[in-house]
Symmetry: C2
Subunit: 463 residues, 2 copies
């Protein structure tokens, strides 16, 4: 899959249809390339000469004096076949077709797209798109996207989508809310050439990618796709968010990306057999991304639940049972360790409710003792902490004490916080910066553990 | 149900076990009563004389020179029977038993609780609890809770729970994140006397309450409960979050609130028949609370979807089909109105993807035109808006324009935002302050409409 390298680490890139008008895609791409410090050469191309952001504008590909490895095209659909021929003469290896007006537009768009594919194939040029926003590679700060990218967070998740206006804002949300970083991001658009299977093959051996998150509307070659899923998911978790799953949704997908949604191939059972983790909805997709990025795998299904609230303990216990985890008994040693910091009469069980058994003022030492004890308890494979955050800040364990207690534990530790939002976000950030993911509900925190357990035990039936 | 009035609007309240030590429940209750401006008389009671927060401390109930209507008790379980006798002599009408050590503790706790109930019954005193945090009434600023309550938001949702450490921090979350206000909040604890059915009967005629949100672990008298559900849900939406639903969860519930979870009575079918809306999990519970508080009911199941992204349109369309809504055709009039602001070649369909059909710079007028047109379109019963928020703030419709366009529309309008978190929260607040609820995923925004539609069409099968 070496050809994909042209799309992520090109020596020189030309932007066909570059614009001097702020806000237009042809301007934003040039701005992003410069702003993010792309180290290769940038050639804006349009019929009007001049400068864009200090760069000389070329009339066409031919007039560029040096080699061009990658082209981003904002040219009208009807001009694309000619562009590919010109690109071939110039020695271009890949084209990102940003423009629409191809199969997603129906009618003549279909035949134009077909001619584009044939021409590219004959000339040895690979295509991403059409109707694609452009790739991002955080390992070399290459941002070819036309989205107004203001922040990037380098990380280990590759995020592949079939919608540019989905992948770009969702990626901002992933950085700013989920506290997760990205290795590479692509929008495959209409997938006239390079498709999901190609990308999965490429990412399988990408050392920067630990987790693969795939949003897709349509899969054309189902068997090939499933084969690629099977291969990559042996090495790293593949999370699939398939949309266009209902008849109405599938209809919308055709007019969006020309996608035939092909559910027969990637329905639950086949996908599961191929080792992929299917997300039901956006919330779950994002939770899974965060979970697999942050956490180690549990050795078994026994969860230790530590709360400040009996009511929350009941909810967490329900969630464990619903998703196939167990609320195991703590070992005698754990019980005696925890009892040592509690009043004499306190009983210690799982879920452990500190509020019921002791005055809340010593909450730091309670949580610390419980985390350390559960970390060493062979009966417990993962730890779910539930914490409350009154606006006043009392009754809340110090997040640094939690991080410190958890730092040598190789079991997954998840947190659910609830209370006054601003206080929550402060503690949330401290915990996630320290490597402990926070979830918005106890059920989601528990489901995260379940997803890890199922993947690591090769039971892929995430429901 | 006049007796519940003693718990929400007492002329005088005594706190048995009041404390001068900051952070202890017996201190926090007194502080909350004073801080929130309770207009009745407050009598701290403990064996040591002195002052608490400037209030004279009384040795016992008898030594209080005036009448006491309500008592909050932090006395040990074993002293509670005597307390009730003393309270009866003093003319007390209700007791909130905050202390634990009753049925939830098992063993002797069961028999103590039984004696407490018998004694109270004989003496005409009603009980909330034991093991309850204390009620809040925002209509008269009466806060008897021992939680460190720092903010209150007056509103129309009554929030009843069976866990004090659940209701209190979740209520802070409801104020600070959901932007929803509360009429009354109660934690019923072990429900030895006053139970869910009593409270539902009371709230049925409470003019301050528009929506009832009920978290419960156990229901003792199922038939009576269902009857109360049936009665209230004819007048206002009742949302039920039943926990302790699994065997492990039910076991945890017994040790938390002594609750026998009685699923036979309040399983899905019976609850549905009684008109209640069942929430599966905390996220859904909170979404439902917000939805029924904010929105009017749709007249039918036809949703108009307006997005900036074809990919998001597909997700929203999937969500409609999954929850029984329809993605209806726009009327010819709507289509021509929207076309009038778009480039000539643009096609207008539902979902409507503005990004695909027009340059994003005119996004304000696109959204405005679409909202106004859909507001008048007889084919459309509700409107789902999806918006993206790049950190830079371009390509995002002005929220005030959205509010202004939506203000005369009597159909539900919901929003899903995605992008850079800090920008999202700013626009989020503007929209919600203006009455348009924002959801964290397109599926949840659509599910909100579905819940409204099902309730209003008396189809209570929320799944």
């Amino acid at each position: 899959m070496k050809h994909l390298q042209h799309f992520f680490d090109p020596k020189a890139v030309a932007i066909i249809g570059a614009s001097a008008t702020y806000g237009k895609p042809g301007y934003m791409i040039v701005e992003n390339l410069i702003k993010w410090g792309y180290k290769g050469r940038i050639y804006p191309v349009n019929p009007y000469s001049g400068e864009i952001l200090g760069l000389k504008v070329y009339e066409n590909l031919k007039s560029i004096p040096e080699d061009v490895e990658l082209v981003a095209s904002l040219a009208p659909a009807k001009d694309t076949v000619k562009l590919i021929r010109d690109a071939s003469e110039k020695g271009v290896r890949g084209i990102v077709i940003v423009s629409g007006g191809f199969s997603e537009a129906g009618g003549a768009g279909w035949s134009i797209e077909k001619e584009v594919v044939d021409t590219a194939y004959k000339n040895g040029i690979r295509i991403i798109g059409p109707n694609a926003i452009g790739p991002i590679n955080t390992s070399n700060d290459f941002v070819l996207s036309f989205y107004p990218v203001e922040s990037l967070k380098k990380g280990r998740v590759a995020f592949i989508a079939q919608s540019g206006q989905f992948v770009a804002p969702v990626m901002e949300f992933i950085f700013s809310f989920l506290n997760v970083g990205i290795s590479k991001s692509f929008d495959l658009g209409n997938k006239c050439d390079i498709d999901d299977a190609d990308v999965l093959q490429y990412l399988e051996n990408d050392p920067d990618t630990k987790v693969v998150a795939l949003h897709c509307e349509g899969i054309k070659e189902g068997r090939r796709f499933l084969k690629a899923c099977k291969s990559i998911s042996r090495k790293k978790p593949l999370i699939v968010f398939k949309t266009g799953r209902t008849p109405i949704g599938a209809k919308a997908a055709i007019s969006h990306s020309g996608a035939i949604s092909g559910d027969a191939f990637i329905a639950g059972a086949a996908l599961k057999q191929a080792g992929a983790i299917r997300a039901n909805g956006l919330d779950e997709f994002l939770d899974l991304v965060k979970t697999f990025d942050y956490l180690p795998f549990p050795k078994g299904k026994n969860v230790g639940i530590v709360t400040y609230s009996g009511g929350v303990g009941v909810i967490a216990a329900d969630a464990c049972e619903k998703c196939g985890l167990a609320v195991a008994k703590y070992s005698d040693r754990t019980i005696s360790k925890i009892k040592s910091v509690l009043p004499k009469k306190a009983t210690v069980s799982n879920p452990l409710d500190f509020f019921a058994v002791a005055p809340p003022k010593d909450i730091d030492s309670f949580y610390q003792t419980a985390i350390l004890a559960l970390g060493e308890d062979m009966n417990i494979d993962s730890i779910a902490l539930c914490m409350m955050l009154p606006e006043k800040g009392i009754w809340t364990p110090d997040p640094y004490i939690i991080l410190n207690a958890a730092k040598n534990i190789s079991k997954p530790v998840v947190v659910w916080l609830v209370g006054y939002w601003e206080s929550m976000r402060d503690i949330w950030k401290v915990l996630e910066d320290g490597g402990i993911p926070v979830y918005l509900s106890p059920e989601r925190a528990i489901k995260a553990i379940s997803a890890l357990y199922r993947y690591s035990s090769r039971d892929f039936s995430i429901d």
